[in-house]
C-alpha cells in the first residue's frame, strides 16, 4: 500500500490534472490518513468539479471523519451527476440509518439494490434497515414527513423531521459508527446489554446472545494481565472469517464490543473503539448523574 501511495503520488506530481487523485485519496483514506486524503480529494475536485467519483471519494472521507452531513451533501452531488449511482445511494442510506431516519434509509438502499442487484453489502444493509424498522415501527409504515416515497427521496430533498432516537439505547453508538457493517454493543459486568445493538448479517439483533457468551471476559482479561504483569488491559481484538471484533473495558467492569467488516483497516477499528468508549463513558456518566 505504501508503494501504491508512492506510485500514485508520483503520477499525480507528473500530471496534476490526472484523475489519479481518486485512487490516491482512496488509498490514503484506507490507511487512515484522513487529513491528507481530504486535501488530495479537494484539490482534485478543484480541477474536476463534475467528477462523480471525486465527490464519492470526498463523501467517504467525510464519513470516516465523522462529518455525516458533509458526506450526505457530497453523495447528493454524485446523484446529480450520475443518476442512480449505487455507491451514493448506499452511502446516503447509511447516513439516514445512523441518524435514525429508517424510512429514508430503506428508500435509498432499495434504490441502491435496484441499481446494483449483485452487491451483497447493499442487500445486507437493506436487511438490517428493514429489521430495525420492523422493531421500531411495527404498527405503520413509518413514513417520514416531507418525503414522497413515490418519487424517491433522492430525487428531491424535502425538509425532513427525523424521529428522535436519542432516548433509545440501541442507537447509543449511531453517531460514532461510520459504515453499515459496523455495530457496537455495551455490556454490563454480567454480560447483560446496556446499550447499542449487535446485528448479524441478516439484520437480526443478537446482542443478548453475544453478551451471554462474552460474560466474564473482563474478569478473565484482568486476571491474565495481572498474572503476566502486563498492566491494565486496553483491548482484545479477534478476527473471524467475515469480521474483526474489538473489545475494550468500560466503567463498572462493563465491556464494549465493536464489530466491523474484515475490510476495515485495523487502525480505523482502534479509532472507532476509542470513540465508542468515549461515547459509552459519557452515556453511563449521564445515567449515573
Amino acid at each position: 500500500m505504501v508503494d501504491d501511495v508512492s506510485r500514485l503520488s508520483d503520477e499525480l506530481a507528473r500530471d496534476p490534472a490526472s484523475l489519479v487523485f481518486v485512487p490516491l485519496g482512496e488509498v490514503l483514506r484506507r490507511k487512515g490518513q484522513l487529513d491528507l486524503a481530504l486535501r488530495v480529494a479537494v484539490r482534485g475536485l478543484e480541477r474536476h468539479p463534475h467528477l462523480a467519483d471525486g465527490h464519492d471519494l470526498l463523501a467517504r472521507i467525510a464519513v470516516d471523519r465523522g462529518e455525516l452531513q458533509r458526506a450526505f451533501d457530497e453523495w447528493d452531488m454524485v446523484l446529480r451527476l450520475v443518476d442512480g449511482h449505487a455507491g451514493a445511494l448506499r452511502g446516503m442510506g447509511f447516513i439516514c440509518f445512523q441518524q435514525g431516519r429508517l424510512a429514508e434509509a430503506e428508500q435509498y438502499l432499495s434504490a441502491a439494490a435496484a441499481a446494483d442487484p449483485g452487491d451483497e453489502r447493499i442487500r445486507q444493509a437493506l436487511a438490517n434497515v428493514r429489521a430495525a424498522r420492523g422493531q421500531e415501527v411495527p404498527e405503520h409504515d413509518g413514513d417520514v414527513p416531507g418525503v414522497d416515497e413515490t418519487q424517491g427521496a433522492f430525487t428531491e430533498h424535502a425538509p425532513v423531521v427525523a424521529p428522535d432516537f436519542s432516548h433509545d439505547s440501541r442507537f447509543l453508538f449511531a453517531d460514532v459508527l461510520s459504515d453499515m457493517d459496523q455495530t457496537a454493543l455495551l455490556l454490563d459486568r454480567d454480560g447483560l446489554v446496556l446499550g447499542g445493538a449487535y446485528l448479524d448479517h441478516e439484520g437480526n439483533d443478537v446482542a443478548q446472545e453475544v453478551g451471554a457468551e462474552l460474560s466474564g471476559v473482563t474478569d478473565a482479561a484482568r486476571r491474565a494481565t495481572r498474572f503476566l504483569a502486563l498492566g491494565d488491559w486496553s483491548s482484545i481484538v479477534f478476527e473471524t472469517e467475515v469480521a474483526v471484533v474489538a473489545m475494550a473495558p468500560s466503567p463498572d467492569d462493563g465491556l464494549l464490543v465493536l464489530a466491523t467488516s474484515r475490510s476495515t483497516p485495523l487502525g480505523l477499528v482502534r479509532r472507532l473503539l476509542d470513540r465508542c468508549s468515549g461515547c459509552a463513558a459519557r452515556w453511563l456518566g449521564e445515567r449515573a448523574a
Binding site: 478473565a220 483491548s235 479477534f238 478476527e239 473471524t240
Partner: protein, 123 residues
C-alpha cells in the same frame, strides 16, 4: 524433554519480544506443551488465554461471524495472542517490543500445522 510440538514452539519463542509459547486444550485450558522462559508458570496463562479464546469463539458463533482465527489482548506492557486449531489453542505472550504482525503470521502458519502434528502424536 521434547515433543513433536517443540520445534514449532521454539520457533515462536525465537521471535523478538516473545517470552512464552504454549499449546493448550481450548475446552479446559490444560497445557499440552510449552516453551517458557525460566521461572514462568504456563498453567494459569494457558487456562486464562484458552478461556478468553473460547469466549471469543462462542460469541462469534452467536453472531454468525464464522470461525475465529487470531485473537490478541493488549496491555501497556505486552500482549497475549491466541490462535485456534480445532480443540487446541496456540498461545503466545509477548512484550511491547514484539512485532505483532510477524507473530500473527507465524502463529497462523503454525496453527495450520497443529492438526497434523497432533494426529502424529495420537498415532
Amino acid at each position: 524433554m521434547s515433543s513433536q510440538f517443540t520445534p514449532m514452539l521454539d520457533g515462536l519463542t525465537r521471535q523478538r519480544g516473545v517470552s512464552a509459547a504454549l499449546i493448550a486444550s481450548e475446552q479446559d485450558g490444560i497445557v499440552v506443551d510449552s516453551s517458557l522462559q525460566i521461572g514462568q508458570s504456563g498453567d494459569r496463562v494457558a487456562a486464562l488465554a484458552a478461556s478468553l479464546y473460547r469466549k471469543a469463539r462462542l460469541s462469534a458463533r452467536a453472531a454468525h461471524l464464522g470461525a475465529v482465527s487470531f485473537m490478541q489482548l493488549e496491555a501497556p506492557n505486552g500482549r497475549l495472542c491466541a490462535v485456534g486449531a480445532g480443540p487446541l489453542v496456540l498461545i503466545v505472550v509477548a512484550n511491547v517490543a514484539a512485532n505483532v504482525g510477524l507473530i500473527r503470521v507465524e502463529m497462523l502458519r503454525a496453527a495450520a500445522e497443529l492438526p497434523t502434528l497432533a494426529n502424529g502424536s495420537a498415532a
